[in-house]
Symmetry: none
Subunit: 130 residues, 4 copies
């Protein structure tokens, strides 16, 4: 994973989203520890304060909790919460794209066509990344 500094979405939120999706995907399971602040900051070449802010958000959402001197751990309901949140995020993104399509006077059919093309493109991209 990497962070896009040119993306208008704040970096801390990009990180928040990334960790949330990782929890949803089972990369980090309930009871397990997620990578430490410093490790993430180094990996993403980002200021530790920024990672810290992402941790705060996830803690407020109840996905992770701190154990003193150890690190941040995924909560019991973390996985299921993260999954529904991720699904909602995807849903919202699609809604936004579909609305933009209608605004530009595209037909429902044409919008679906664009989606299918995007799906094909991402699928091949994912496959080739393996």
């Amino acid at each position: 994973m990497s962070v896009d500094p040119n993306n208008p979405i704040p970096i801390y939120q990009q990180i928040t989203d990334y960790i949330r999706r990782s929890i949803a995907a089972g990369v980090y399971r309930p009871g397990e520890m997620i990578p430490s602040l410093r490790v993430l900051a180094l990996e993403l070449t980002v200021n530790p304060n920024t990672v810290q802010r992402a941790f705060e958000t996830l803690e407020r959402e109840g996905l992770i909790h701190p154990r003193k001197g150890l690190g941040m751990f995924v909560t019991r309901h973390g996985a299921t919460s993260a999954q529904s949140q991720s699904r909602t995020a995807v849903y919202e993104t699609f809604v936004q794209g579909i609305r933009a399509g209608y605004d530009a006077n595209m037909t429902t059919r044409r919008i679906r066509g664009v989606f299918e093309q995007a799906a094909r493109d991402v699928a091949t991209e994912v496959r080739s990344a393996k």
Copy 2:
């Protein structure tokens, strides 16, 4: 249309996108004038300078051009350019959503299901707005 100041996407860019989609949709046709700086600023309750910045971008993209003392007019190729640009924007949004879905370990089928639900929801929302 209205602007969302809490949206991380800068206001001037929201306005740019909005006008671009309007041109793509044929609301403003080649050779026609688009609403003036001050009118748009009042409608969107935004500072005129912010609208000005949107105009700059659209002019750089070749969608509109100024006629001194008169206003900004849609260029000859403005409509077709705006359409292809809008399509690309929708595509990119979908790609982003699909990637997020895969990252959260959703199957292609499940992602498509979310899309279809979003499509249905937006369609009814659009219909009821009429």
Copy 3:
């Protein structure tokens, strides 16, 4: 002749320069009348006020003077004044270009090379326009 509305130089000044050069070139000779405000405004598709402002400048410079009910006439010394002024304008333009060249760390030789190329290009352009 035509006016470039995108040129940062004000239109009234573009017109002033143009008339001054025409007088210098002998298109309009001392004692002769220059085209009327309305004619020029129509030809250049410019607001009459803008032409008016150019006339004021030229009158202040002593190149032309009004004869009531007739129009603007080139003064006795108009031709020679216009010639020296035009020469100065060309000189100043060159100075500006040469300074920009030095600022960009170009050698005198290289700058002269650019000038010679420009001279060739304009010469062929002028020849083909005949």
Copy 4:
């Protein structure tokens, strides 16, 4: 360097040109940081927003890019791009001067004479500035 508010060329563009030439001249090299917004604004006694606008243009041209929280840095190809752009600008200035000369009925020889005088004058001016 200083800015001329009476120059019809907008201040932000004067600043853009100045920085572009500095990059072309190797004052700021690829990978290096250029002076900050606030520093430039103080030096030129200009509003920071005006400098910001110059930065925007240079970024769009691909000469510089921002590093969050650090400053603006010259891109890899910044120097070569700036050099060719500066050369073109000098060329355009000369073309403009030569055209004005022909319009004023000057001979090619006479125009070249004016150029040579300008070259001598600027050369001595530069030499004495050392």
